[in-house]
Assembly symmetry: C3
């Protein structure tokens, strides 16, 4: 199964790539790298998960938020290169978790993104990761992710 088939098997339909909310581009292609802008948990034009982990959001909701962010990132990559099979390697996922004082579950939340990428892209999905807690997130989103991927010519 290729990546598209794995997504379908998981019941995931890639959404249209979310447009930028300000004066920037959703992704840029430089050399063999595609770098996405920060992806928020958009669904049907709305932020589906708002709030701070450790306050209004529990860890499972955070996991789902991270999963949705990376689905949007995959949609951006497809928009950039046309075919998910051209992704040679996920390079890095930067994960930013909107959290209240005392929250410690960043790794569990961000696994919502990592688990999906690992499942859909297998070896090509193996990525480095950054995990930070952020006090004030744009649009009060629960999670923001940025993805760097190596792509073929």
């Amino acid at each position: 199964m290729n990546a598209e088939e794995k997504l379908i098997k998981l019941g995931i339909i890639l959404p249209p790539p979310p447009p930028a909310v300000a004066a920037y581009q959703p992704w840029v292609h430089t050399g063999n790298l595609v770098i996405t802008s920060g992806q928020l948990p958009w669904k049907n034009g709305e932020i589906a998960y708002t709030g701070k982990l450790g306050a209004e959001m529990d860890e499972d909701q955070g996991y789902q938020a991270a999963r949705l962010c990376v689905i949007n990132a995959i949609a951006q990559l497809k928009d950039a290169i046309g075919d998910l099979e051209k992704i040679r390697q996920f390079v890095r996922i930067e994960g930013y978790v909107h959290c209240a004082p005392g929250f410690r579950g960043h790794p569990q939340v961000l696994n919502g993104a990592s688990d999906l990428v690992n499942e859909v892209f297998a070896e090509r999905g193996r990525h480095a990761r950054l995990a930070l807690g952020i006090n004030e997130m744009p649009l009060y989103a629960a999670v923001q992710l940025a993805v760097t991927a190596e792509v073929s010519d």
Copy 2:
């Protein structure tokens, strides 16, 4: 008009590239990429915009702070490659907004950087962006930006 001419038309004189404040370099050139260190809103050797958005700083001041940060970043790029026409593409602007609890205007603040880059560099200025709210910023600066640009050989 090239980028230098557009800057002049906008009344912008590129400052000397701000030196690093500690044991690092203001920029590094690797392959076809130049990556700047975090740029603060320096002007004549002082941080021109200090404070937190949503507290001591309003959104318009934040916009001006982001604009000043990216002017300093452009000065670093010129220092790195000698000629702004060698910039093929702005790749990414990472925008960090120093903010108080409840602030939500990150995109508007960071447009201070994006608008200028888009105006001066046109197609070459189109960039991916990251926008985060930071609780404690070095030197109490209102904004910090890091820029990655693709340059010609």
Copy 3:
């Protein structure tokens, strides 16, 4: 003296590269770049420096935490390429300081990483840097660093 000899002279024995704490890889190699995941101040399987700068941690402890993070990052780079002499250039150190309201010593803390890299790798150690204050850090670690390095084929 090469980098390994300089480390020995400084009394530093590279530890085994710390494993990832979740569903990601400690480093990824893309083109001529190696990018590490966020490195925490692990020592013998425990986080050696926990707490917030400006609260439980003083600046000297923060400096030591940053130094330990970058020692772990160097161990990751060695794991990636086998020989530290294959590092052509440190490109970027992203430094995230776990801090309490009012803390301003980010540059001094992160010099714990930069000073070591500069001493061990000399010209090859010259790097761009990002310095941010983070309110909630994974595992309550005092510092987190991510390193990008250019390596030879």
